[in-house]
Amino acid sequence: MLGYILRRLLQTIPVMLVVAIFIFLMLRLTPSDPAAIIAGDNANAEQVAQIRSQLGLDQPMLQQFVIWIGKVARGDLGESFFFKKTVAALVGERIEPTLSLAFFTIVIAVLIAVPLGVLAAQRQDTWIDRLVMGFSVLGFSLPVFVIGYLLIYVFAIWLNWLPVQGYQHISEGVLGWAQRLILPSMTLSVIYIALIARMTRASVLEVLSEDYIRTARAKGQIERKVLFRHALRNAAVPIVTVIGLGIALLIGGVVVTESLFTIPGLGRLTVDAVLARDYPTIQAVILLFSFVYVMINLAVDLIYTLLDPRIRY
């Protein structure tokens, strides 16, 4: 097992290198100029050229890449063009809100979606099944921002229960932190509830037709135990895969949700950096997201071994 983990970790190096080359080239080939943006509307060509030179953007592309990748290899992600802060510091400031949002979202999604999926499977072809699947289709179809506005209107403006926007750091109070995360997490979790519930239903349905389920029922096992101890456990591998994929997909979701709810997380940082063409920040955040994606895949593969003893690496 250790050898497998080590091999997988080593495999991340070429993956990250490819991502680094791709993102570097993509940014440099996009028709934009951070120096012109920084200089502002009144700046003349000479002033823009001065800024370009200060940022090192007048050097040949290969040279820029070698300098950047060399720094990254030494753990230096560089300095933001705009914020006059190191990218590491910027990312460090933004990790907590994003992790908090992701954590709340996944917890809400799993707690709601798995029971719903199991229920839909158990009551196949009844109105409950159709309701759950109908919700699932709706969850897939509605854009995140529409869900967000609906929830804001109901819970923040109409009922006046929750704040409209903003984030409170956990160090400033756990309740305030949780209070400000409810709406964004609910917004973001809808699509994952739809995804996980659908997958849970399909997997449990498949398992429910197995002989050992019939045997369990024949032995007088109560239905709840049949479902959760026997069926769900054996249906867990595809569900865990979907949850893992969901966490990876969250990266895209947080970009919209953080912008909508004014949460100063990595998603918002990405949007701001892209709009400002802040190359060092974009490069670092994409690298980080890619690394997280690879690690989640590894974690999911390792969890398989816990859920299914037949799987060995």
């Binding site: 028709p31 914020f83 004014t262 400002a276």
Partner: protein
């Protein structure tokens, strides 16, 4: 399991209680959403308006313009001009302090003017008249000119980017091409650098030792009294969310509410909409003089007859209460604003435009019109221009892109079919286009001009004449001549003005009528 249920119930009750709990504050905090997030902190290094607004929070100026545009002393106690108009002597007010507690000196001011003038176009022009700047005693300095000019007072009271903010000598000696890293000012608020989180919030706290002028605040002049203890600029990027937050009382001040959301805000009894005539902007069409077809002045002139302002304004702003059809290059109602000679243009006289194109021998070369799609205030301008130009007989190739791509592309001198361009539209806040020297697009010095690169000796001579003149009546006559010349060479075409209202909670009062949204004098009542 039962224990777990109890724990969950307890947590839910606690969360519920927290929802109704109201935090108490011992100090007054103004929570504002500005038009953009603050990312750069040096108002001399960049011309971005949000950085200018940041500058007004923490720095002070030697002179300032009141709400009528009159130039008044600000940090300066008094200034004297010699009889020959070549020597300006400034005396600073007593008791001015930097945020670190040290006194403001004349050496600080001389260094600050030098750094500002190295970056700002009006400052550069002013410095071409300056022979020397000499600190006298700690509170006095002299500007010696080679020849008289009205630009000293006009420049040092410049209300918009780049504003000549005063900084301590050690900061002002920073290379003008590099950003400052010390944000010590002498203005009414202190920048709380530790609390600055780009993408989240920017915080300012009241500078207790600031000594305001005794006169009442007026425009950017008079007593800058900080009436709140703390100001927080929150980075809310979504307009609907900013409006929701204002209605709920989560914020107090919204600098630029979207015009289409004003209806909602006007219905709310807790919200005030402030319409200041000084917070106006002007839309302009900018042709590129380097390439066909706009390298031909007659073809550029056809644009004046193809366009009308109403179509542009209704397509972008859409509310008649917030638009103004105004053909004056230097803004209707301002000191140099005049509509003289503009009667026949900007009326969509298609026949006249077609005649001019025929006379000019327009061969159907497509006009590459850059269309910015991500800034709401600009998005509909290019489609309107395209439609009006096509009616007049132009062939238009409108290319859509985000604003930052447009900003990068407009700097390219390449031909349009090799990544260059022929035209684009943008807007200026009126404070930037109040006279022939500050209006950046009128710079017609060929390669040294801004993108679009107009090249006209007559225009440059007129702008120089304006700079030399200090008599307001003669300055006005020169400004009118500049406007007439612009209609001949078409450095730019004004396609309408619009008003940008501010939205505030009803308990927020004291917003000044000024060309930049300044937050001193603002009070929050219970």
């Amino acid at each position: 399991m039962i224990e777990l249920r109890k724990a969950i119930l307890a947590a839910a009750c606690a969360a519920g209680l927290s929802l109704v709990a109201t935090p108490s504050f011992s100090q007054t905090t103004l929570k504002a959403v500005m038009h953009s997030d603050l990312k750069i902190l040096d108002p001399i290094w960049t011309t971005a308006y949000i950085v200018r607004n940041h500058g007004y929070m923490i720095y002070d100026t030697l002179l300032a313009q009141d709400e009528k545009g009159a130039i008044k002393p600000q940090m300066v106690d008094k200034y004297d001009v010699s009889a020959d108009g070549k020597t300006y002597t400034f005396t600073l007010r007593d008791g001015l302090l930097w945020h670190d507690g040290k006194p403001v000196t004349s050496e600080d001011c001389v260094a600050s003017i030098k750094r500002w003038s190295a970056r700002d176009s009006m400052g550069q022009k002013m410095m071409s008249f300056v022979e020397s700047m000499t600190p006298g005693d700690a509170r006095t300095f002299t500007i010696q000119l080679k020849e008289p000019t009205g630009l000293v007072l006009l420049g040092l009271s410049k209300p918009s980017s780049n504003v000549p903010f005063m900084m301590p000598k050690r900061v002002a000696e920073t290379d003008p091409t590099k950003q400052i890293e010390d944000f010590t000012g002498s203005g009414p608020f202190v920048f709380a650098r530790d609390e600055w989180k780009p993408g989240d919030k920017t915080v300012y706290v009241k500078f207790d030792k600031y000594k305001p002028r005794p006169e009442p605040a007026s425009g950017l002049a008079g007593g800058k009294v900080a009436k709140v203890d703390r100001v927080e600029w929150l980075a809310v990027s979504d307009q609907q969310q900013a409006v929701n937050a204002l209605q709920k009382g989560e914020i107090d001040f919204l600098e630029q509410p979207s015009i289409d959301l004003l209806g909602t805000l006007k219905k709310d009894p807790n919200i005030t909409i402030v319409e200041s005539q000084q917070l106006k902007a002007q839309y302009v069409f900018r042709p590129n003089h380097l390439h066909k077809p706009f390298d031909n002045p007659k073809i550029r002139q056809a644009l004046w007859y193809a366009f009308n302002q109403e179509d542009f304004l209704m397509a972008t702003v859409g509310e008649s209460a917030y638009i103004k059809e105004c053909k004056a290059l230097f803004i209707c109602g301002s000191t140099f604003g005049s509509t003289k000679g503009t009667e026949d243009v900007l009326t969509s006289n298609v026949k006249k435009a077609q005649e001019l194109l025929k006379e000019a021998g327009y061969d159907g070369t497509p006009v590459v019109l850059m269309h910015s799609t991500d800034l709401k205030a600009l998005t509909n301008l290019a489609p309107v221009a395209k439609s009006l130009m096509e009616k007049a007989g132009f062939k238009v190739d409108m290319q859509s892109m985000d604003w930052q791509t447009l900003v990068a592309r407009r700097a390219k001198k390449d031909p349009p079919n090799a990544g260059g361009w022929n035209a684009f539209l943008t807007s200026w806040v009126t404070a930037d286009v109040m006279n022939p020297v500050s209006t950046a697009y009128l710079n017609s010095s060929c390669d040294k001009a801004l993108f679009g690169w107009p090249c006209d000796e007559t225009m440059e001579k007129l702008r120089d004449q304006f700079a030399r003149e200090s008599d307001p009546a003669k300055q006005k006559a020169i400004a009118e001549a500049v406007q007439a010349r612009n209609m001949e060479i078409t450095a730019e075409i004004p396609v309408g003005e619009y008003l940008q209202p501010v939205a505030m909670r009803k308990n927020v009062t004291g917003l000044l009528t000024a060309p930049a949204p300044v937050l001193w004098n603002i009070e929050i009542t219970k």
